[in-house]
Symmetry: C5
Subunit: 292 residues, 5 copies
């Protein structure tokens, strides 16, 4: 923590999240719950009770997560009842999945100042790395980053390769795209970066340096190095098999990731099964404590 170049407010809040919640060992495990905006209520059909924010916030508390991620509307209408029981990460931007993603950009819905008002311990921002709309995305991000710096609020960047040019150069999950996204977040001042797990086998259209053979472990190692002093979280993505998820978690933590951010893989199953899956992930996190 002392080497990250954080100002006092950021350090206070990040230390609280990493050492005052969850496993309290410097690892991070976040529960994201902005899919109602990003994908719509269709994500709740598998487990309808998950459409109720109260259910999911309680799950974050029961599961011992380091934080729950909410958009401004749910944060204002539901978080007051659980204030202080689990840290709030206010997601500042988001969009619906309805219009085309070719020039993806995620508009702001809340501000860092509102995160302060709500007692949040971090803010989240989705940066669509490589989008043809990068000019407007970077401009919007810059104001968020400056506000977060000014107000001492840790900034978590969802570094997501997206848009027509990304699709033409290996796709959003290629090692090239994920590695570049992690570095972009680091270059631009993210305190924490959330990435998808890299797929080194996706090489169509990637630069020559990435067109060689890499294991997934080599890829995630490189991604963690590209992030540097920006702490790295690995995203769960869509629901898949438990074993695949646990493997992904193991390789990420072994490579030096700080933690995980799994949503649908957690709350798209029945309550007790969610907690069992969470427990398995916590075991992995326990084996890779942070530097303290």
């Amino acid at each position: 923590m002392d080497e990250l170049g954080l100002n006092t407010g950021k350090k206070v809040r990040l230390r609280r999240v990493l050492y005052g919640h969850g496993l309290r060992n410097g690892t991070a495990f976040f529960l994201p719950y902005d899919q109602g905006l990003e994908h719509g209520p269709r994500d709740f059909f598998a487990n309808p009770v998950a459409g109720d924010p109260r259910y999911v916030v309680k799950l974050a508390i029961e599961g011992g997560f380091n934080g729950i991620v909410l958009q401004i509307g749910l944060a204002e209408k539901f978080y007051w009842d659980y204030a202080g029981e689990v840290p709030l990460v206010l997601k500042l931007n988001g969009k619906t999945e309805i219009p085309s993603d070719a020039e993806a950009l995620s508009p702001l819905h809340g501000s860092v100042a509102e995160a302060v008002r709500l007692g949040a311990d971090a803010v989240g921002y989705t940066l669509y790395v490589g989008t043809p709309a990068q000019e407007r995305d970077f401009a919007q991000y810059r104001r968020v980053r400056a506000d977060a710096q000014r107000l001492g609020m840790p900034l978590i960047v969802w570094a997501y390769p997206r848009g027509s040019a990304v699709e033409a150069k290996g796709g959003r999950d290629s090692f090239y795209a994920v590695d570049y996204a992690a570095r972009t977040a680091a270059e631009l001042g993210a305190d924490v970066v959330k990435v998808n797990f890299p797929h080194p086998e996706k090489t169509d259209g990637v630069p020559a340096t990435y067109a060689r053979e890499f294991t997934s472990r080599q890829a995630i190692d490189a991604v963690v190095r590209s992030a540097g002093r920006t702490l790295l979280l690995v995203s769960g993505g869509g629901k898949t098999s438990d074993e695949a998820m646990l493997n992904k978690a193991r390789e990420s933590m072994a490579a030096g990731a700080t933690g995980l951010i799994f949503g649908r893989n957690v709350w798209q199953r029945e309550h007790d099964e969610s907690l069992r899956f969470v427990a398995a992930l916590r075991e992995i996190l326990a084996e890779h404590p942070g530097p303290g």
Copy 2:
């Protein structure tokens, strides 16, 4: 009311609207009158006297509505004469129907501060969920939401799926679109959301989860759940048969909607017939009082 996470000013005004007017039982029945801008004077040909704002404001008072919805121009030139007799909902944005709707966006015409100056008890904002112009729409909405929060003004969102991408994925009235719209308003901090009644039979192009068979009652139930603590109003839409409208009202209220917002179905008929239709709707509302 106590569970909605409202600040003091919002609670004062929303309580006044829901318990100090209309049936005074926590239900809501609004009379919208911005069609002169949205559709032009053609909407008044069926009952020309309805083109006169004085007639419609008086109708709102006679019919015991919870509020009359006006754009800034009519609010300034006509509401002074009836100030305090019926709550004012200042509609903040709107557009003409002349240019194409493919990239729909509804520009602002008034501000929350002007609503305060005019003694309004709520403001209305049309959010075109799914429009390719969502970047600008969300940015505009965000400023309105923040102003409403700051000034303690309840915010009613007209959550209308619109634009070329919506038309390609089931259309503006599909269960998918209406459900997503209700959730979007909730995620983004609306206090009240106005939706059209969902049509679960419109399944061309919708996600698989919505392509199954649903009754209209199942659909409106789900939409109310998606709105969560955001109170839900069902819109009347274009004029149709009384029985269809009453059924829609019954199903909505039974599903947990807070109320109705019917315009053309009310004032596009002769005066006494309007009041008879209003009385029938009030009977339905009386059977579904709010939680108090």
Copy 3:
């Protein structure tokens, strides 16, 4: 005047224009002189002396007009010499006719605050109703309206249907377009609206309600009603026969219009002939005094 919902400053200035100048009977007769920007100097070839602003301002004084309409440049360089002799309407926006009108928008050149500094009694704004650029037009207009409200300055809206969508739905002079334009100005808070005389025979592409047969008198009657408490001025348009102009004036005033705004039909003729034509129009205005 007392029923228009005007604040004190607007009432002072509008009363001065309508009862302190011209016929002093509540009617209005304005001389617009912004064609040098809108059409270029070609409008002055018919009567070259009219290219000199001094000539036209003097004509406004000699003809007993209620106001002269100038853009900021001419107002600053020429009005000082005639300050107080005839009210100034500062036209706030305008454009050249050179680029395409398909997405018409009229950019701002002056501000309401500058109108105050120059002692103007009203400001003018061209709103291109139905333009595909309505988003930017409405945004620009909104700021002007709010400034006019704040500074107590009457706002005259040139409500001009324009752009590709208007041309596809009956054209800029159709009854549909003019009626919608008048209503739009009223909904959006214009104190006075300037429209072209409606042509009910233009029905190609208009909504069914307007596709029936109407006399021009029926059309202008409806337009005046659509404007409601927004005072209505009828525009002269391009130069045409005296009898056509006088008929248009008679029908408009009989329908309840507040007055006329004729430019090229006045100053595109020799000096004494201009004054004779003005006198004929004043006779019509004298027969239709305002409510006082």
Copy 4:
């Protein structure tokens, strides 16, 4: 000067330029030196020493010019050494010639406040009359005009017809285009307008009023009248024969122009020849003193 409607600061500075420098007789002769940005260093190949700003500023002093026109960069790095010896006109906007001119717009590089800081006596702004980008151009211009008014800084408008629509209607040098440009600058509050000499023989696509035969003298006469109380400067344009330039100067001054603004025709020749050419132009200016 007393009839131009100028505020005190503008009058002080404009009087200093017209009566305290150059021929001190109310005429103006400016040396523009922004071609390094507008055309690039290729303009200096004919006389490489002219690429050095020191050479050109000295030439302005030796030639007895009323002012030297510089962009912010050269003004800051070179004018300090000659401060007060020749008035500075700070050119506020400009662009490279590399991208297409079809939607020409000249972005701002400096502000009126910076002109004040540098002791400039006027600012220059290029307005691309008729460009499809007129909306943004006019908006940018409006802020400059308002700042110039507030700070008492004379505003010289380079009124240049440009863009695809201009090319389709007679081209940038047609009598129609130049006349319209002069009028536009006057309508929009320029204190001084710089135009190219009109070519009445360019009639392809111009309005009927301009399609007749005019002599160049008739054309420049009309242009000066269209500018009205906005003082008119005639631009030199690209280098051509001395006799053509002197004729242009004679006709312009006889028509009532206030002066000339010649750059490449002056500094694209050897030093002493430059001064001889300048002397010939000064003779013409001496024959047409301003009104005093």
Copy 5:
């Protein structure tokens, strides 16, 4: 230094960079390290340790550079540990290489005020000379320049010809493009300009003045003259042979350049070899001391 027209703060900082670091003789040698954003981590595959900012900052110190160039994120997270050991140039804008360069623009990520906070001695800005997006680029640049002037911060402009129009007129490295870029930076107020070495043999589509034969020495001479009092740095570009790089450095310094800015040619090799290459370049710089 005394002739550059710099304000006090700029002079303090630039003198510190040029005479307090590096060879302390008025020459400059900068180590740029923003390629992780501009090209992504692929630039680090040749020498993976160079992906760690600590390695590169240490290299800048060991190699006796005049400054290290970092984006805001790396500056905040890594520079604190080496603060004051080597001057920081905060690069203010940047972009990824993923989307198309046809309308290149480099968005802002930091501000001049943040550079002050971090103790930087200069800021860097990439200006894409000739891009079709020049309107937005110039507007963004203008604010940076004004802030740098106000805060006394030297401004280094990466003057990079880029975009579809540049490619059609000789390409980004042509003598025409580089010469124009240097002049543009000077006209627009850069204190220092970074250019690529000109290629006079690239003449396809360039203006006639540049289509003749020039040696590379003639070309770089002209470019230095076009920059005038704006100090010129020559960029290294992609890694190539040592001899080519040393020749480029010799010709540049002989032509009057102030220094070099070489990144990949330095850190894309093994540590000791980097220092040997740096030593060779320093010998060249030592032969061309600045004016003092």
